[in-house]
C-alpha cells in the first residue's frame, strides 16, 4: 500500500451553544465530530458519507484547519496541522485544497475567472506574470472550459461550469489532497456525472488524493477507493468500496444501501428504510448512537457504545453484532 498522506486520529469538535439564560451553568454542547479517525493514502480517494447533520462537512473543515478542533490530531504530509501557527499553516495550504458545494457562493463575483483560479497562487506570494496567466489558460482547458473565457465573471457561467472553475482553483497550486465537500450535490444529475468524471481524470493526471464528502452513496461509490460511513459524529463503518457494498457490516450502512433507488420496477427490493429521524446531536442516545433506529438493537446496544473493530482486510465496523449481521439481514428479508 502506498504512503499515508493524511492521518486523522480521534478528531473531536464540540460546539458550545450560547444560552440566554444566565443561570444555566452547563451550556449545551453539540458533539458535531466525536472521535473520528481515518487515513488517506497518496493517490487514494476516501469517500465520507452520512446524513446531513452527521458532521461530515465539519470533518472537512477541521482537517483544513478552517475551524479549530476541540481535540485530536491531524498529521498531513509530516506536519501536525492542528498545532501549526498561522504562518506555517499558510505554507501547507498549497498542498491542501477544498472544493465547495455551492458553486454560486464559492466564487468571488467581483473577480474574473483568471483572478479566481490564480488566487491560491497569488495568496502564496506569486506575482502576476505572463507565465502565470498562461498557466491559468491551461488550467481552464484542463477542466474543460475554453481559455478565452478567462476574463469573464462567475455570473456568466452555469452551475456546472462554475464548479469546473472551483475545481480549477483547487488544483491550481498542484495540491496533494483535495477535500471535495459535497462537490457535486448542487448540480443536475447529468452535470454531476460530467464533473465526477472530470475529477477522476484530473486525479489520474495529477496524482492527488481526494477526501470526497457526500450523501449520495451511488455517487460516492463511483469515485471512491474506500468509503467511511458517518453517523452522528462517529464513523460507524469503513471499508474498501466493493467490500462495503458486498458485505455491509453495520445496520446503518445496510439501511443506506437499501435506500439507493433501483431503476427497475420488479427488482425493487423490500425497502428496509431507516426509521425515525436523526437524533439531536445535543443529546445523542446512550450506548450505540444508532440503537433507537436499529432493527436489531439489543440491551447491550442501549448501554454500551461499540468500538470500531477490525472485521477483515481493511474493513472496520462499530456494531456489537457485526459478525452476525449479514445473516440477520438476509433473514429479515
Amino acid at each position: 500500500m502506498s504512503k499515508v498522506l493524511i492521518n486523522v486520529a480521534n478528531l473531536v469538535k464540540h460546539f458550545t451553544l450560547a444560552t440566554s439564560n444566565p443561570f444555566v451553568r452547563d451550556k449545551p454542547v453539540v458533539r458535531a465530530v466525536d472521535g473520528v479517525s481515518f487515513t488517506v493514502s497518496e493517490g487514494e480517494t476516501l469517500g465520507l458519507v452520512g446524513e446531513s447533520g452527521c458532521g461530515k462537512s465539519t470533518v472537512g473543515r477541521l482537517i483544513l484547519n478552517l475551524l479549530p478542533a476541540s481535540s485530536g490530531a491531524v498529521e498531513f504530509d509530516g506536519h501536525d496541522i492542528l498545532s501549526m501557527d498561522s504562518a506555517g499553516m499558510r505554507s501547507v495550504r498549497k498542498d491542501l485544497q477544498i472544493i465547495f458545494q455551492d458553486p454560486h457562493a464559492s466564487l468571488n463575483p467581483r473577480m474574473t475567472v483568471e483572478e479566481i483560479i490564480l488566487e491560491p497562487l497569488y495568496a502564496q506570494g506569486h506575482k502576476r506574470t505572463p507565465e502565470l496567466r498562461a498557466y491559468a489558460a491551461e488550467l481552464l482547458e484542463m477542466v474543460g472550459l475554453p481559455a478565452r473565457f478567462r476574463n469573464r465573471h462567475p455570473h456568466q457561467f452555469s452551475g456546472g461550469q462554475r464548479q469546473r472553475i472551483g475545481i480549477a482553483r483547487a488544483i491550481a497550486p498542484k495540491p496533494k489532497l483535495v477535500v471535495c465537500d459535497e462537490a457535486v450535490s448542487a448540480l443536475d444529475v447529468s452535470v454531476q456525472a460530467q464533473v465526477i468524471n472530470l475529477m477522476q481524470d484530473l486525479k489520474a493526471k495529477m496524482g492527488m488524493s481526494y477526501l470526497f464528502i457526500g450523501h449520495d452513496l451511488a455517487v460516492v461509490r463511483h469515485i471512491s477507493d474506500r468509503i467511511a460511513v458517518m453517523y452522528l459524529g462517529r464513523i460507524v463503518e469503513i471499508a474498501r468500496c466493493d467490500d462495503l457494498f458486498s458485505r455491509p457490516l453495520h445496520p446503518y450502512t445496510q439501511a443506506l444501501m437499501a435506500a439507493i433507488p433501483v431503476a427497475h420496477p420488479r427488482l425493487r427490493h423490500k425497502r428496509d428504510r431507516v426509521r425515525g429521524e436523526l437524533p439531536s446531536p445535543l443529546s445523542p442516545p446512550k450506548g450505540c448512537h444508532f440503537h433507537p433506529r436499529c432493527p436489531f438493537a439489543q440491551d447491550i446496544c442501549r448501554s454500551e457504545a461499540p468500538q470500531l473493530r477490525q472485521m477483515g482486510d481493511e474493513h472496520q465496523a462499530s456494531c456489537h453484532f457485526a459478525e452476525d449481521l449479514p445473516e440477520k439481514a438476509t433473514a429479515a428479508q
Binding site: L64, L66, V92, K94, A105, S106, N108, E119, A123, R148
Partner: protein, 297 residues
Amino acid sequence: MQSHIEIDAVEDEPTGLARFYATARRFMRNRSFAIGAVLFGSVVLVTFLGPLLTDVSPNALSMRNRFQPPSFDNLLGTDNLGRDMFARVIYGAQLSLMIGTSVVILNAIFGVMLGALAGFYARLDNILMRIADALMAFPAVLLAIGIAAALGPSSMTAIIALSVVYVPRTARVVRSSVLVVKELDFVMAARASGATDFRIIMKHVLPNSMAPMIVQLSFVFAYSVLSEAVLSFMGLGAPPTVPSWGILISEGRAYMREAAWLTVVPGVAIAITALGLNLLGDGLRDVLDPRMKVEEG
C-alpha cells in the same frame, strides 16, 4: 447561460479608447447615474470655472444696488450690501464642495477601515461599535455644533466635526455588509488557499461590500454640504469673509420677506448638489456591479 453566439461575440475585451467608450456608454445607460452625473458635473464645473463666469468680486460692495431682484445686470440679484449673488454663490461653492470632499475622503478612509475591522474581527466589534453607539447617541447636528464650538470656528473645524459625526455611521454600514460577506464560501476558499487576513479583507470582503458603501458615501457628501451650511449658519464654520452656501442663507434670512432670492438661490444650489450626488451614488452602485454587465449583451 445565453446562446453561444452571444458569448463568442463579446470575446476579446476591447482595449484603450474603445474600452473607455464602451465603459462610458455602459455608465451613461444607467439613468440615475446619467442624471446625477449631469447635475453634479455642472456644479463642479461652475465651481472651478466660477472666476471665469463672472468678473465681479463676490465681496464688492455697491450701496446703490442693494436688494436688486434678479436682472440682466445681476443674474441672481444682489444682497443687503449690494454684492452680486451670482458671484457669491459661485465662490461659495468652492468652500462647500471642499468641505464635502474632505469629509467623504476621511469617511472613506476611517469609516471603511473601522467598519471592516469591526465586521471581520469579532473581538474588536464590541469595542468599536460601543464607541460608535456613544457617538451616534447624539443628534448629528448637535454633536457637530458641540465639536465645532469646542475647537473654534474655521473650515478645518467644520471638516473635523462632520467627520466625527459621520465616520461611525459609515463604519456601521460597512460593518454590517462585511458581516454578511465574510461568511460566504469564497472567503473560506481564500483562507483555505493561505491568503492573509489583509488580503482577504482587501480582495474579497471589501469589494463585495461596496454597494452600500458607495451609497453611504454619497449620502455623507450631501449631508456634509448641508451640515456645513448649518454650522456656518450658526457662525461655527468658515469665517464670514469667505462666503459658503450656509453663510449666504444665514445672511439672507433676515430679509427673507423682502428679498427671497437671497436664501432661495444658495438653497437651490445645495439641493441640486445633494440630489445630483445621491443619484450619482445610486447609479454608481448599480453600474459597478459586474452582474449588471450581462444585460447589454
